[in-house]
Structures are given as C-alpha cells and as structure tokens.
C-alpha cells in the first residue's frame, strides 16, 4: 500500500507569524494574568485578572484558527476585532489607573494592528480555490492484467466507487511491471476543522484516507485471492478502526455474517 500526502498551502508567512504571535500572547495571558495586567498598568487583582484570562483564551483560539486553516481570512479579521477590543480596554485602564503603562500597551497593540489590518485585507482580496487542503494518493499494485482489474472494480466495488465519487476522488489504472496493474486513487482532503479537527478521525482510523487504504487492501485481496483474509483476532478482515479492539487469537464462537 503506497500512501502519499502532499500539503499544498497558500504561502503566507505574515499570517503564520500572526498565528504564532496570537498563540504565544494568549498563552502568556492565560498562565501569568497578573504579570500581564501589571505590564499594561492594570492592578492585576479581581476583575482585571479575569478579563486578562478571557482575552488570553480569545488570543489562543485565534492563533490556533490562523495556524490550522489554509486561508484564515476570518480568523485574521477576528484579530483585527480583538485589537479594537484591546484598545478600548486599555483606554479604560489609562483613564482609571497607570496612564503611562497603559500608553505603552496601546503603542504595542497599534504596532500589531497595522499588520493585522494589512493581512486581513490582503487575504480578503485573494481569489481562486483555497490551496491548503491535503492531496492524498493511495495506490496498490494488483498482480493481474489491467482489463481484469478494471472489470473487477466495475463489478464488485460499487459502494466504494460511490463514496469516492462523493469525495471527488479520481481513480486510475496503469500497467505495472510484469503483468500487474497499479490502482491509484487521488483525493483532496480538507477537514472542516483543519488539521486538528482531522487528527481525531485519523487516530481512530475513521478518516476517508485511512478507510480508503483499508478498502484498497481488501479489494486487492478479493481480486487476487477471491476472499478477504480473516483471522481469529480480526474476523472481519483488515479495518484499521478495529485494530485497537482486537479479540484474542482464538476461534470465534459464531461465524460472522
């Protein structure tokens, strides 16, 4: 089973910088709210500390959003809105407490608001498809001539073909050395919650790419041998999602299906 995944991403170093900046600042606000409060002239007690923490959550969320989305236009605009909120809070602090320190904070926020607005406008102007998804190729070589493999694909892989069609995947058959056939499936994956959102189904073997790998392996078995290899531990054959809850390698009570 060959698996090849290529990440094509809009090359945007400024957006990535802003993402990491958000994550870093947010972490500092979450872990050391008192110090951060004092830095901008707030008391660091009571309400101000809670506000600082809340702002930290906001910053960190924006950071993760920017870093995981292929074209994070909304997330960068969210930063601009966040900057406005920060500036008004700092204005309030200047009126009530240490004006000098608050002014220091305001200067810093403005310094980052400029690139935020610039980047948000830049991303908003971008057109064309998002180039951030993962291009995945899965391939197996089947030890039979091409006509035979194509016929088998048309005859017995209906459910799989439909799923691939839904996912916009392309399937190709190429003659492989000797008399084999390379069956390759190319698809583009862009999980809605970005890389992090995609990680959970991937770990449990429930993402499309992993299921596709299972399906191709089973298709190869079926075409080459006429059956799906079943062991006592995995009587349903190869399914990655089932790997972690295998039964012991001893005969089954009931013959499955």
């Amino acid at each position: 089973m060959a698996t090849h995944a290529i990440r094509t991403r809009d090359k945007d170093t400024l957006a990535r910088f802003l993402g990491w900046f958000s994550l870093g600042l947010g972490t500092a606000q979450l872990l050391a709210p008192k110090t951060m409060c004092r830095l901008v002239g707030a008391s660091g007690d009571g309400l101000s500390r809670h506000v600082m923490r809340a702002m930290g959550v906001r910053e960190a969320t924006q950071g993760i959003g920017i870093l995981t989305r292929p074209r994070p236009t909304t997330w960068v605009w969210a930063r601009v809105a966040g900057d406005a909120l920060d500036l008004s809070l700092l204005g309030l602090t200047a009126a009530r407490g240490n004006a000098k320190r608050a002014a220091f904070g305001i200067v810093n926020v403005v310094a980052v608001t400029v690139p935020d607005v610039y980047e948000a406008r830049h991303l908003s102007r971008k057109h064309g498809p998002v180039r951030g998804a993962m291009h995945v190729r899965k391939a197996v070589t089947i030890n039979l001539p091409r006509e035979h493999v194509e016929q088998a694909w048309a005859a017995c892989a209906q459910e799989l073909r439909e799923r691939l069609l839904d996912a916009g995947a392309t399937v190709s058959f190429t003659p492989a050395p000797r008399h084999g056939t390379e069956l390759a499936v190319d698809l583009t994956q862009d999980p809605p919650a970005g890389d992090l959102g995609g990680a959970v189904p991937k770990l449990t073997g429930k993402d499309l790419a992993t299921q596709l790998a299972d399906d191709l392996r089973r298709f190869k078995q079926l075409v080459e041998t006429g059956e799906i290899a079943r062991s006592d531990a995995t009587p349903d054959g190869h399914l990655l999602a089932e790997h972690l809850k295998q039964r012991p390698a001893q005969p089954v009570e009931e013959v499955p299906r």
Binding site: M1, A233, Q250
Partner: protein, 390 residues
C-alpha cells in the same frame, strides 16, 4: 476444544476454547495429531515480540488430518493427512508468484500494524502475535487453515508424524539458512546455536555439499546431538576466549565461508557487551541482544555470506556495518518460505537422505504443554525439542 493459550509474560495455560470454524471458502479444518514447541514460541512467551494478547492460542508447527474443507478447496479431502506450513500464503500475489511465501501480500489482516514497524507487512502466521495477523495457533486439538489449497502438503506414504512434522517450520527453515549460503561444495560453514533450527541447518549444509560444519553453543548435550547426527564439529563458546579467533584457528586463518545465525534476538554471552545488551534491552533502548549476529559478521571470511535465520523483531545496537561493507559480505535473511521446500524436502526424507526426528527429546500430551515450555526454555532434562500430542 483444548488449546494452549498465552496468558501473559512467561505464563501459558491449556484452556477450553471454541472449536474453529470455516470462515472463508478456501479454509480447511485440521484435527491436529502432532504439534511442536518452536524456539520462536519462547520469544512470544517471554514477551519480546509485541502485540500478544491474553488468550492467544500459540503454536505454528503442526500436522494432522483434514476434517472439513471449504467450498473453494478442491485439492484436499476429508481424511487427508497433511503437514501445514507456518506462514499463510495466498498463492496469487507477486510475492507468492516469486515463491517468497513468508512475505505474502494478502494474508495478514493486521497489515497496517506490521507496515508501521517494518515498512511493509509480511504474511500471516499461525499463533504468532497480532503483528502477523492474529491467527489462532496449532498447539490445540483443531486448527483452521486459511488458503488450505495453497499451503498444506498431503502425505501419501507411511511416514511417522515425527519424520514429517518438522516440514512445517524448522526443517525448511534450517534448510533455507543453508541454501542461501550459496554452497557449491567444499565450504566451511559455522552455525551459531545448536537448537533445533541450528541442528537442521547443520544437517542441511552437509546435504548441500559443505565440507565442514562447525556448530557453536554452550550446552554440551546439544553439541553432542549435532556431532552424532549431522557430522558437524562443535565449539563450546564458554571454553574459548573469542569465537572469531577460535574459528580462524580452526580454519587455517581463513575464517568460515558462510556463517549462520540460528540464535536470534535473545542471545546469551559473557562479558561487558552482554551486560550492555541486557541493560539496553531491559530499558527498551534496543529490542534485541544481537550477540551471535555481531560475532558471525566478524567471523565471516571476506566475501562470504552471513545467513540470518534466528528471529529478530526490531532494532539492534552496535551493528558492525563496517565489517559488512569492507569485507564485502552478503547478508541473507528472512522467515522461511516453507511452501517452496515442502516437496523437495519430503522427497529427501522419503529417500532416506535425512530423518529430522533425531532432534526430538520430549513427547508430551497437549495438557502438559506448560511443562514442555518450562523444560525447553530452561534447557532442563537435556531438552532439545518437545512434541505435543493433543
């Protein structure tokens, strides 16, 4: 039925488990008449091979009588007496077409696990961890044999079980080790390990034309068996300072033409390097203690062959790659492609060229299998090979 199950590190028990059933058209069910404990079973019992699960039925050397066949098996009939090869092979993939049956592409339902560890999956194996498929083994009353139209060899002559049982694994395994040494006649072959595979590798090397075979071990009774049955010379490594030097001395300074490592990942030795391996293995910094492998590489003459048939699972440390490269050694290795050797070796048994049953020292009923494991593991009572009868 009764079956020997792995219950945890260093614990095996005979239990009642469900009878095997036909799951696929190309399956057969075999009533087992003889089964053996293999050296590699000890690696599983010790817990050195990962992915064992409590309740796994062990055993991959077995033979018996066909009691049921699936609709896709036409070459076997109920009542046929068969020996079953330990790797499960489909007979249709490119690996099988090339007669590399132990790396069959289709028979390991846990292919992804093996792929992560070794880059590619290997064939399914009976009773040999979940990494090789999670198939129930043959230290039991019955076994389900997948792809029964490809693997089992039908016995038509009146051989005793013990004469042919070892065709399932250790005889072809030892034979493959010797065959891959590229023997053309007149060579000196050194073999590390006088266990069952080492013994049969020694006998095979002689069959294939080696002029001298030197077997290295520390158990006097095992060396004696090799001397008496394979025509090998022996070397007790506890009696010499350094094995490579001793081998040089025995070969007029030339070194063996081929070296066979029939020891594998749990090698024993003395000295600081052994302590080093034990500590690293205990701390999971390396998975093997490759002492025999290192020694065979250092001992081999320039341009010679090192044939690794002892089992390894993961990573080794202090591997003398410089010696391999600069001496121009050829390393051969692999789980045995048993199917390839079944017929030719059965013919050799039939012609009286060899009787592999010389290695059997203990015969026990299946219910005493845990005791058999203890004897074999601790090398008590001059134990060399245990055959179990269900």
């Amino acid at each position: 039925m009764r079956a020997l199950c792995w219950e945890g590190r260093n614990t095996v028990e005979v239990e009642n488990v469900p009878d095997p059933k036909i799951l696929n058209p190309r399956d057969a069910i075999v009533r087992i008449t003889s089964t053996a404990i293999c050296g590699s079973d000890l690696h599983l019992v010790d817990g050195y091979v990962p992915t064992m699960k409590k309740g796994d039925v062990l055993g991959h050397e077995f033979m018996g009588e066909v009691v049921e066949v699936g609709s896709g098996v036409s070459n076997l009939q109920v009542g046929d007496r068969v020996v079953v090869p330990f790797p499960i092979a489909c007979g249709a993939c490119l690996a099988c077409e090339r007669e590399q049956y132990s790396v069959c592409e289709n028979t390991n339902p846990n292919a992804r696990l093996a792929e992560k560890l070794w880059g590619f999956p290997t064939a399914g194996v009976f009773g040999y961890s979940h990494l090789t498929g999670g198939y129930a083994g043959g230290q039991a009353e019955y076994a389900r044999v997948p792809f029964a139209d490809v693997g089992p060899i039908k016995l038509e002559n009146g051989f005793s079980d013990e004469q042919v049982l070892f065709l399932s694994d250790i005889f072809p395994t030892g034979y493959q080790a010797a065959e891959t040494c590229d023997l053309r006649g007149g060579e000196v072959v050194a073999i590390w390990g006088a266990g069952p595979v080492g013994q049969l590798a020694a006998a095979s090397a002689r069959l294939l034309g080696a002029e001298r075979v030197i077997v290295i071990d520390r158990f006097e009774y095992r060396l004696r068996v090799a001397e008496q049955n394979t025509g090998a010379e022996t070397l007790d490594y506890e009696e010499v300072d350094r094995v490579p030097e001793a081998l040089k001395e025995l070969t007029g300074g030339r070194g063996p033409d081929a070296c066979i490592d029939a020891v594998g990942l749990e090698a024993h030795h003395h000295g600081p390097l052994y302590a080093y391996d034990r500590v690293k293995q205990a701390m999971r910094q390396e998975t093997e203690r490759p002492f025999a492998l290192r020694e065979s590489i250092i001992s081999c003459r320039p341009g010679g062959v090192v044939s690794v048939i002892g089992v390894y699972g993961g990573l080794v440390d202090k591997f003398p790659m410089g010696a391999v490269m600069n001496k121009g050694l050829t390393i051969r290795s692999g789980q045995c492609h048993v199917h390839r050797y079944l017929r030719p070796l059965l013919e050799r048994v039939q012609n009286g060229e060899i009787d592999p049953s010389f290695i059997v020292t203990h015969r026990l009923p299946l219910d005493d299998a845990p005791q058999g494991y203890e004897l074999f593991k601790n090398k008590e009572d001059d134990c060399l090979k245990v055959v179990l009868t269900p």
